[in-house]
């Protein structure tokens, strides 16, 4: 899959997290996923169909049932390599037949879990009965595989002959061992063994062959006589016949596998698609997602939209998450105090757009989102220059290089999320650059939202202005709090609602108050407040 976003954008917008959440659980699903490409402008019909399928499955099956089905899918081994070799004329190995048996069993479990109305509209792969029948003699307990006598009478005969020949050889060898024992050799072992000279008979009996001599011992082995050698040769011939009969069984099973391969490969493809679909449906069920309307212009609207990576992190710490609602036409600016949710708002937009691009319903109560062929994150955390050039550039330089890269390959429809772009240069020049960027995005017909602390940007660029996060007076704290309680205190004083405002609605950043709430040295905070109020601090 060629992603319409950079690695940095994926990180910033939680797309990496989303991809992990909707990752297929099986090897066949992972292969199916690799063959997919994201939906882009022009793919609206296909995207709508996929979103509807995912939503229908999520609603009708429910999270618990989908979880059980995913576990069943995860247990399905990938038989593709064995199928390819069987079709190519190879004689498969016993491990291949064992794995094919496991595949058919596991597929049967998937079919059992995917019964009912919830799956009526989905084509479910079916186990191949002919191959299951062909393998059955080797799967007496229904789980293992062995080239059993039941496959072929000739194999049973060959094994019987081998057992008889082995008994004959063991008997011939035992006679030699008995003669050696009678001659005073107490313990004749398989292979080489040691006799101590001071206890061994002299001379050694003819049944014992010396391999190596030493002053105090001899290394020796049993010497086979003609009878034993003939018995050994007969045993080797019988074992060769067994090997041939076993291989004949494998050839027949390999041909049966090759015959079943087209249908099995289709089953593999269907199972991969099912894995991909179920993974998305499980996500949609877990996060109470909604099927978005697909806008065909530069309009994006979200109601009660959530950014699940942040929502889950907050909930895990016992804190509330405030969803956002937003109606964005073209390009806009969002302002607000530090820690008020500006960046989270940008991430929520990027996440929602990525969901639609990937055919996943959106975690919101309503969503109208266009398909985009690029999601670009600029500003804090944006893609900088290549690693080898990175040390050559300042933070500002890296932002500019990232913007240049975005502008050099214009997308048909892009969503641009600019997080405090140009914040590291002088406020006046930074503001000028941001205004120019927003104008350029508007001209290009992009969707864009820029978070900034700089005043007057929306008005100067003639774009909509949203505000998020209004900080009430922080309640007094008894000394510096640990980080957790400090964050809770700030959250209690913050209104995270996102509203459209005129320019006068843009408030202070609240940076000094927040620095105090986060436990920064009180004297330093007091001095900062004093400087803020001083006439020298006013911009000319």
């Amino acid at each position: 899959m060629i992603a319409p976003w950079s690695a940095e954008t994926a990180r910033a917008c939680g797309i990496d997290w989303l991809l992990r959440e909707i990752a297929p659980v099986g090897g066949l699903g992972r292969s199916a996923r690799k063959r997919e490409r994201p939906f882009a402008p022009g793919d609206e019909a296909a995207a709508v169909a996929m979103l509807a399928r995912v939503d229908a499955l999520a609603r009708s099956a429910g999270g618990s049932r989908l979880g059980t089905l995913r576990a069943a899918i995860a247990a399905v081994p990938d038989p593709s390599a064995a199928l390819t070799r069987a079709r190519g004329g190879d004689v498969l190995a016993d491990v291949d037949f064992f794995e094919l048996g496991r595949f058919l069993d596991a597929l049967g479990t998937v079919v059992a879990e995917a019964r009912g109305d919830a799956f009526a509209a989905i084509e479910i792969p079916q186990p191949d009965a002919a191959l299951a029948d062909a393998l059955a003699p080797g799967r007496a307990d229904g789980r293992s595989f062995y080239v059993a006598d039941a496959f072929d009478a000739a194999l049973a005969t060959a094994r019987g002959e081998s057992a008889a020949r082995r008994a004959a050889f063991d008997s011939a060898r035992s006679r030699l061992v008995a003669r050696a024992r009678d001659a005073g050799i107490g313990d004749v072992r398989d292979g080489e063994f040691v006799l101590m000279r001071d206890t061994a008979p002299v001379p050694l009996p003819p049944e014992i062959r010396v391999v190596r001599e030493a002053p105090t011992y001899v290394l020796c082995e049993l010497a086979l006589d003609t009878t034993a050698l003939d018995a050994l040769e007969a045993l080797e011939n019988a074992d060769a016949a067994v090997a041939e009969a076993e291989e004949d069984v494998r050839k027949r099973l390999s041909r049966a596998t090759a015959d079943a391969a087209p249908e099995l490969e289709r089953s593999c493809a269907l199972l991969g698609e099912l894995d991909v679909l179920v993974a998305r449906a499980a996500f949609a069920a877990r996060h109470e997602c909604v099927v978005p309307e697909l806008a065909t212009n530069e309009h994006l609207e979200l109601r009660d939209a959530r950014f699940p990576p942040l929502a889950e992190a907050l909930v895990a710490r016992g804190r509330a998450y405030v969803p956002i609602s937003l109606s964005l036409d073209g390009v806009a600016v969002v302002t607000g105090p530090n820690m008020g949710g500006k960046t989270a708002a940008l991430r929520t937009l990027g996440f929602a757009a990525a969901c639609v691009t990937l055919g996943v319903p959106v975690p919101a109560s309503f969503a109208r989102v266009p398909l985009v062929d690029e999601i670009a994150w600029l500003g804090i955390g944006a893609a900088g220059p290549d690693a080898e050039d990175a040390p050559l550039l300042s933070a500002f330089g890296a932002e500019v290089v990232a913007l240049r890269a975005f502008l050099e390959h214009p997308a048909r429809r892009a969503l641009v999320l600019a997080d405090e772009f140009a914040r590291t240069t002088s406020p006046s020049e930074g503001r000028a650059l941001l205004v120019a960027l927003l104008e350029a995005l508007r001209v290009r017909g992009a969707l864009g939202l820029a978070a900034t602390h700089l005043a007057g940007v929306a008005k100067a660029a003639n774009v909509a202005h949203f505000a998020i996060g209004r900080l009430s007076a922080l309640p007094p704290a008894d000394g510096a709090l640990p980080l957790g309680p400090a964050l809770e205190r700030i959250a209690a004083a913050m209104d995270y609602a996102l509203v459209r405002v005129d320019e006068a609605g843009a408030g202070e950043s609240g940076a000094i108050a927040l620095a105090g709430a986060l436990g920064l040295d009180a004297a330093l905070v007091a001095r900062a407040a004093e400087v803020l109020r001083s006439p020298e601090n006013r911009e000319p």
Binding site: D94, V95, R143, Y146, R159, F193, V194, T216, A243, E247
Partner: protein
């Protein structure tokens, strides 16, 4: 486990397998992943092959499952060796079988556990750096051979040092003064403890965290109170008194190992047992 390569582990393992078979005890056989596996596969070098009778279970790489005599494959594992995924199989007819295991101690532990679910006894053809795969109650047989040491005395020192490492006593739970070594205890660290006249117990996690052996270990360990948090249980030694390079007098070798290690010593080539004389 052996003091070195060619210490006779494979012969000992085969002898144990034969003895278990004679006693009618069901058993499984698995192995560590050998460093030489890839080399062996590419260069055709010899790999250990175990003569096993019907009924034995093995854990080995799928690519090493023999075509004849056919075995009954009864489980797939999630572990991999350098030669591919590891499967569990049951021997159905006598033959020689190649065994390859996973490369990590954790994975080896899981494979041994899987084998043990259907057998009474599990044999692990192991190595000292995979001791972490053992549970506390597992027994260790230490193999030493003539191949690895230039003289009999040298070989006896090596095996004695290894047995002493494996026999490190447990630290007392209430020993608050003990010096706990976070990672591996090296020879240099141990020498520094000796130089500093350290009288407190010096504690490692287990024998795998002592990164030196031989005479150096015997010398330094005799001057320190070395202890561990996880005890291991060496129960016997075996000797392989000859190799293509040299040979030791079998009875003298076995006797010397028994005297120094105070463990029963088996010579599976001579079929003899040596015990240390009572002190």
């Amino acid at each position: 486990m052996g003091t070195s390569k060619n210490a006779g582990k494979t012969v000992v393992t085969a002898a144990l397998a034969r003895a278990l078979g004679d006693a009618g005890t069901s058993f499984g056989l698995c192995s560590i992943g050998r460093d030489g596996e890839a080399f062996d596969a590419l260069e055709g070098g010899s790999k250990p092959r175990f003569a096993l009778r019907a009924g034995a279970s093995i854990a080995t790489a799928a690519t090493l499952v023999p075509r004849s005599p056919a075995v009954e494959i009864y489980a797939a594992t999630a572990e991999r060796s350098a030669l591919g995924p590891i499967v569990l199989a049951r021997v159905r007819a006598p033959g020689h079988f190649e065994i390859a295991g996973p490369p990590s101690a954790e994975a080896l532990r899981r494979v041994a556990h899987a084998l043990g679910e259907t057998t009474e006894f599990t044999l692990v053809d192991g190595a000292v750096d995979r001791l972490a795969a053992l549970r506390g109650e597992d027994a260790i047989v230490v193999a030493v051979g003539a191949h690895a040491a230039p003289t009999l005395e040298h070989a006896v020192d090596d095996v004695t040092a290894l047995v002493r490492r494996l026999q490190l006593p447990l630290v007392d739970d209430d020993d608050r003064d003990a010096v706990r070594v976070g990672g591996a205890l090296t020879a240099a660290m141990a020498a520094e403890f000796v130089r500093a006249g350290e009288k407190r117990a010096v504690v490692v996690a287990d024998a795998t965290h002592v990164a030196f052996g031989g005479k150096t270990f015997l010398t330094l360990a005799s001057r320190l109170d070395l202890r561990c948090e996880r005890a291991l249980h060496p129960i016997a030694c075996t000797v392989a008194p000859f190799s293509w390079a040299r040979a030791f007098e079998p009875r003298a070798f076995a006797r010397a190992v028994a005297e120094r290690t105070r463990l029963p010593v088996f010579d599976v080539y001579a079929g003899t047992v040596a015990e240390a004389r009572a002190v």
